[in-house]
């Protein structure tokens, strides 16, 4: 039987999300229509908006639904970067890096956390800035010092955009008190359906749309809303209680103890579900394939549409050198079974034994 341990790629659908998404699929109306069916659809849309705002500390009217995390990040960055220079963390996700093309790179410390002194120095001179920072890293689960970074940004009058795609649902988040202008979320990383994301905006922030269309989402994102996915996102946000995610910490720690291998970012605060484990001398690609064939779904590097396993620039930015190509990511889903750690450790040991025999022979 296979074991799904790639939650940071996508979380399994939560039953609460499935139920509301299926119900929303049956609604005939367009949320923008004036008639009763339209109003019924809009009610579902606004309910989802309220749930997202409630879970993440935003105001419902400043939640903009998008097609996903990538679009939410792009919408914020492309709009906010007007008239500002952009600074991004060295371990940011391509969704941010590509929207922030030409940005200055902020280094991370060897433990994977943002180098706050470098942020301070970068903001000390130069014009108005937009700083883009992930709350938690997709590959290592390392949690950045967001409050400290926000304080530095505030002191220098810099705008801050947060990519909370991996953090959401796995750790407490309060956008209202974060000091950020905007925060991006992805529905399927919360356990909702794929195809919806959200951008939380500081109240009063005016944002130019990427797609104007019919002026939906208060003119900030045109196009009829993907109601089933959005409704599912709302339900998933409500169901994704960070307190429940703490259960995963025990499983993660059991995996790390069972493997006894170096863990990237182990010195920093990390998400409860993520472990980036280095097996020296073994290409990450070989590990991912061998584990897949043994039924263990893990990943390495950044996924590309071609499906190839590429070396991780994020881990290289942590100064891991060759180990950056020897690390796999184990990310426990919200519904990881209780025996997940034991089963994974056993499969990993079998792989390791075969690789060691091969190297010896």
């Amino acid at each position: 039987m296979s074991l799904y341990l790639d939650a940071n790629a996508t979380e399994p659908l939560r039953p609460e999300a499935r139920a509301v998404a299926l119900a929303a699929m049956e609604l005939v109306g367009n949320p923008s229509s004036v008639h009763a069916d339209g109003r019924a659809a809009r009610r579902v849309l606004e309910e989802a908006r309220s749930r997202v705002a409630a879970r993440f500390g935003g105001s419902a009217r400043d939640v903009v639904f998008t097609s996903g995390g990538t679009e939410a990040n792009a919408l914020a960055i492309i709009s906010l970067r007007q008239g500002r220079r952009v600074l991004v963390g060295a371990t940011e996700h391509p969704a941010v890096l590509r929207a922030a093309e030409g940005a200055g790179m902020l280094p991370v410390l060897p433990d994977g956390t943002l180098d706050l002194a470098a942020l301070e120095a970068a903001l000390a001179s130069g014009g108005p800035a937009l700083v883009c920072l992930m709350v938690a890293n997709n590959e290592t689960g390392v949690i950045h010092p967001v409050a400290e970074a926000a304080a530095i940004c505030r002191r220098h009058g810099a705008a801050l955009h947060l990519d909370a795609v991996q953090a959401a649902g796995r750790m407490p988040l309060d956008f209202a008190s974060s000091g950020a202008e905007s925060m991006a979320l992805s529905g399927h990383k919360l356990g909702g359906p794929k195809g919806a994301g959200a951008l939380l905006l500081r109240p009063g922030l005016d944002l130019a749309p990427l797609i104007a269309g019919g002026g939906q989402e208060r003119g900030r994102r045109g196009g009829t809303e993907a109601l089933p996915a959005i409704a599912g996102l709302g339900a998933a946000a409500e169901a994704a209680d960070p307190a429940a995610a703490a259960r995963l910490t025990l499983l993660r720690d059991a995996i790390e103890a069972g493997l006894g291998l170096p863990v990237a970012g182990s010195g920093a605060p990390r998400l409860p579900n993520t472990s980036c484990v280095i097996l020296p001398g073994a290409p990450a690609e070989t590990q991912v394939i061998a584990l897949d064939l043994a039924g263990m779904r893990v990943s390495a590097g950044s996924a590309c549409s071609s499906g190839k396993v590429a070396r991780s620039p994020g881990l290289a930015a942590m100064g891991l050198g060759d180990a950056a190509g020897e690390a796999i990511r184990i990310s426990l889903p919200w519904n990881a079974p209780a025996d997940a750690a034991a089963r994974f450790v056993e499969a990993h040991a079998a792989m390791r034994e075969r690789l060691a025999l091969r190297r010896a022979g």
Partner: protein, 366 residues
């Protein structure tokens, strides 16, 4: 048994995967991403993976086998593309397919296959691997028009022991396409790949010029006595025996006789004087026990020619093979020289520059 299949996305390796899966083997598909396809076709924003990778994935999905795309860009750049350009800069005519088979395919994929607990690596090459009294033998494919044994000469015996070439007994390509249709593979009618995969435009000298500018610099065209007859647009455009592109007035009968990288010269001579009586061969890989004395065999000095009778002698100490064809041949340094005994590949190596004395078949080897 668990078998890794190198799937290019073409019809041949797709059929291999399909046949092995049909026979009930535990088939794993692997496709090498060797170069940035978007960059190679010079289309901004195009995916690094070309259509072939998508085709391979589709075939694997259709067959219901696991499939992985392996990023081998940097390995391929160093081992194959770099060697390709270096070879031109040395005044040679490279065969990148041999280097690719030698490194990225057989060396690396055999290692991966073993790491994954596979018992064999299968490819879509047209060649046969036959169990002989002294271990596996590499033999020509049943279809002489498709035979690719020449490109496999650098496969080591250990790699050959692990390799499988299920298409070796196919009577012809049409039969392979029929198998593809029978297996329901969408690539059944896909055209054969052409030329050098990493230069889809065919303008390989642009690439060589970028990596080794000196190979693209213009220089003199001279005769064997050193008389300047004209100018050329870069040595990489020429190979021994070539008649085209010399741009000489009244070039009747003149062909490239040699390339002189030190002086960036293309040496030309009358066509009749180009063939040589003996060919030095280095970096030899033996797929049989090389005789200690001069021996008779057949040899191919380029991919597209019929093996011809030769006498060869192997200097085991200097690790140098000298091949003397019964009839003089045109041989270009950098190309492969592959020795055959009938269908069997005895071994092969890369043709070296310079002239050597013919082997006297009656004399004992050094």
């Amino acid at each position: 048994m668990r078998i890794l299949v190198a799937m290019s996305g073409g019809v041949d390796s797709s059929v291999v995967a399909g046949l092995l899966a049909e026979q009930g083997h535990d088939v794993i598909g692997a496709t090498l991403q060797l170069y940035d396809h978007g960059a190679a076709v010079q289309k901004k924003g195009a995916c690094c993976a070309g259509q072939d990778i998508h085709d391979a994935r589709d075939v694997a999905d259709r067959l219901g086998i696991p499939h992985y795309v392996l990023d081998r860009e940097s390995r391929f750049r160093d081992a194959v593309i770099g060697d390709f350009a270096d070879s031109y800069a040395r005044g040679e005519t490279p065969i990148p397919c041999v280097r690719c088979n030698q490194t990225v395919k057989f060396q690396d994929l055999v290692a991966l296959a073993k790491d994954l607990g596979c018992e064999a690596l299968a490819t879509g090459h047209y060649a046969r691997r036959v169990e002989g009294p002294d271990g596996p033998e590499l033999r020509r494919a049943a279809d002489p028009a498709r035979d690719q044994s020449y490109f496999l000469f650098a496969t080591t015996r250990e790699q050959l022991a692990f390799a499988r070439f299920p298409l070796g007994d196919m009577p012809d390509k049409a039969a392979v396409r029929r198998e593809a249709v029978r297996l329901g593979l969408a690539v059944a009618e896909k055209p054969d790949s052409q030329d050098i995969c990493f230069v889809p435009s065919g303008r390989y000298h642009d690439l060589v010029a970028k990596l080794r500018p000196e190979a693209a610099e213009s220089g003199e065209i001279v005769d064997r006595e050193g008389h300047v007859l004209g100018r050329h647009q870069g040595m990489a455009r020429y190979t021994v025996g070539q008649a085209r592109g010399l741009g000489l007035p009244g070039e009747a009968g003149l062909r490239v006789a040699a390339l002189d990288p030190a002086r960036r010269r293309v040496v030309v001579a009358p066509a009749a004087s180009i063939p040589v009586t003996s060919v030095p061969v280095g970096e030899v890989n033996w797929l049989s026990e090389p005789p200690a004395v001069a021996f008779r065999a057949e040899a191919k000095f380029r991919a597209r020619e019929v093996p011809q009778p030769v006498t060869a002698v192997w200097d085991a100490e200097a690790r140098r093979l000298i091949v003397t064809p019964d009839q003089p041949v045109i041989s270009a340094p950098g190309q492969g020289c592959v020795l055959y005994d009938g269908d069997r590949v005895l071994g092969g190596g890369f043709i070296r520059p310079g002239r050597v004395a013919p082997v006297d078949a009656s004399a004992p080897a050094a």
